[in-house]
Amino acid sequence: MRRLWLSRTGRSQGIRSALAVQVLLAMMVAVVLVPAVTQAQQPVELTMWFGRRDFIPADAFSAFHRANPHIRVKTDVIPLERAVAEFLRAAQAGRAPDLVQVPADSIGPLAIQRELMDARALIERWRSEDPTGYGYLSPAAWSLASWEGTPHGVALHLGPYWFAYRVDWFREAGIPHPPKTWDDVLAAGRRLRTPDRIGFSVLGSRAHDPVWFLSTFMSMGGKFRDAVPQLDSDAGVYLLRFYQALMRDRIANPETLAWDSGDMRAAFIGGKAAQILEGDNIFPRFNAAMPYLFEWAATTPPVRPGGEADARYMALGWPYLISARTKHPYEASLALRYLARPDIVGEVARRYQPTTVGPAMTDRAYMVAKPWTPDFIEPFKKLVPLPGHARQPQLYQVLLDAMQDALRNPTADARAMATRYQARLNEVAAGR
């Protein structure tokens, strides 16, 4: 009886003790977990600036919102040309977006002003939580979003410049194709120009950054020192002479100095130009006007004779960067992971810019949308980002001056011109 009583009593006390311990544990867990869960589920609104409407995925984040009901992404389009200035102004006013897209060569000012988040921890978390998705990204995805080795986001799109030409005109004229060197381009241009068409379409105005000029420079083996192009080199002099020849031999349009990218593209699409160096994203428009391989074809940019070993294929990039002022860095990185999904980024790449996400570039739908892709699979792996300097906009102004000087003075001494402009580039880079 006593034993029985003891048992009951002991059991009761034991049960009470166990219950007390369990309640205490539950309370401790609740104190720790509930706020975290509550915080995680608190509605989060992210603001994201895209540099072009074309970059916004077709589903406009609806799949992301379904998968993350507590996160809402509000998008806006701030043109790439204004993105840096607008972002800095917004940041100073305390209204910076959580994510911004800028040209890769313009990251410097934002990083120097400490307005970009060091994304290393977020990227590491991405790798551990989604190794498959992380593994799809090429190294360029990180390098194009980095400044001085620190990643600030991810570049899901990059834009190479390829050489396109009227393969039907080349065949009719019996000219070997594709042109291997830029001398071949000039020679073909001289043979193919007529009163109604030009041999090579190029823009010469100040309406855009000199990215076509620099792409040609890099394909000629042009080099950079601390992100400053070395114009007073064999490649630089050759480049200036190339531009001079375009005007001197009337291979390009006499209005080239006033031409912007629209004029340049319209000439080729409209059947008024035999050759052009253009971004991959414009090729769908060529294809809509002329069937690939029947009327037009594309290849990697030609090279400079003697500079073959140094030739490189330049690519621009438009990374998505995380603001240093965001209150939701993890959620911002989730938005980037969503954009990096092959089905999401692939839809954008099929109609706009190529991507750094491997599966999206090799799937059948992409090949059908861009039938020239198989010809560029290997060159794509060798793309080199355009080097970016902190004073990139000012360097661009000097390069535009050099380009226009060559176009306006087709008989001037190109080497002296290169030396003169290199001095100005060095002054600008040094902040003088």
Partner: protein, 305 residues
């Protein structure tokens, strides 16, 4: 009943109707009504000007975190900079060419409309259309007229033997920009001058005719002196609008070819929003403001307004 009671003096009545308060309200009312506009203009423009001037005294560059005070160093740098000198010279050419051509066009338009008996308002309204169109739209239209072999004016000129590129040649591009600028700014100048002509008493002209004055004498010795103040206003308009011109130039030529049409407005825009060099751009703004104020003061003094 007291017979010497005088009727109450309304001026001595307290509350509403007291002459002193009525006078105060009457004097204060215009200022009160103007206050919102003044606050808006002063707040937006005034703040911008003061802030811009302050920024021009510091080195504000996006590739530096520090913003040290540099005094007038930005101005000294600008004066020595060949690109600034080029922009200033281009602006001066544009301004003086616009004044010359603009005054001829607007004054002759005003005289012609003033001489009309019927359809005056309709014609004046039609003349104002270029000014009512946005600068960008006007610039794009002018670009279409002169670009390439298919530009309407280019083709017309080729038929009379004037060939060659217009927007691709530095001198010709500046001519096109000037023509577009005159086309855009002259209408308002014409309206200003027309208003001045309308204010002249017709009897003065009758008296001049009776005195034997010829038409050109009437114009020189009667019309022009009487409308001198509005001529000054018109000149101020043409001058400062030309110095500040931006939305015609940028879409039309982008400041090119070379920097042949890079006037101060385009130069300042490029410094601020392409080069992100805010302090030097602010210095350009201050210089532009001083130039405009100087010219305006000169006109007002010469024409004794």
């Amino acid at each position: 009943m007291r017979l010497d009671r005088r009727p109450p003096n309304p001026a001595a009545v307290t509350g509403m109707g007291r002459p002193r308060s009525r006078s105060w309200v009457k004097h204060a009312t215009p200022y009160v009504l103007l206050a919102p506009a003044l606050i808006l203009v002063g707040g937006v423009l005034g703040y911008g000007m003061v802030s811009g001037f302050a920024t021009s005294l510091f080195r504000v560059e996006v590739w530096h975190v520090e913003r040290p005070f540099v005094g007038l160093a930005n101005y000294a740098r600008l004066v020595r900079d060949p690109t600034f000198q080029n922009a200033l010279s281009r602006s001066l050419v544009l301004v003086f060419a616009t004044i010359a051509a603009g005054m001829v066009v607007s004054f002759s338009t005003a005289l012609a409309v003033n001489a009309l008996r019927r359809g005056r308002d309709l014609l004046l309204g039609l003349f104002l259309i270029p000014f009512l169109v946005s600068g960008v739209a006007a610039a794009v239209t002018w670009r279409f007229l002169f670009i390439g072999a298919t530009g309407l004016i280019t083709m017309a000129l080729e038929r009379i033997g004037i060939t060659g590129t217009w927007l691709g040649d530095p001198t010709r591009a500046l001519i096109v920009v000037t023509l577009a600028n005159v086309w855009f700014l002259s209408p308002l100048s014409a309206v200003i001058l027309f208003a001045g002509l309308q204010s002249i008493d017709p009897e003065i002209y009758e008296a001049a005719v009776i005195d034997g004055a010829r038409r050109h004498q009437t114009l020189l010795y009667v019309t022009l002196p009487l409308i001198a103040p509005v001529v000054a206003t018109s000149l101020v308009w043409l001058t400062f609008a030309s110095f500040n011109m931006f939305d015609i130039v940028l879409p039309l030529t982008g400041g090119g070819p070379g920097r042949a049409t890079e006037v101060l407005g385009v130069y300042m825009y490029r410094l601020a929003f392409r080069d992100l060099n805010y302090s030097v751009a602010s210095a350009v703004m201050v210089i532009l403001l001083m130039i405009n104020v100087t010219f305006s003061a000169f006109y007002l003094r010469v024409f004794r307004v």
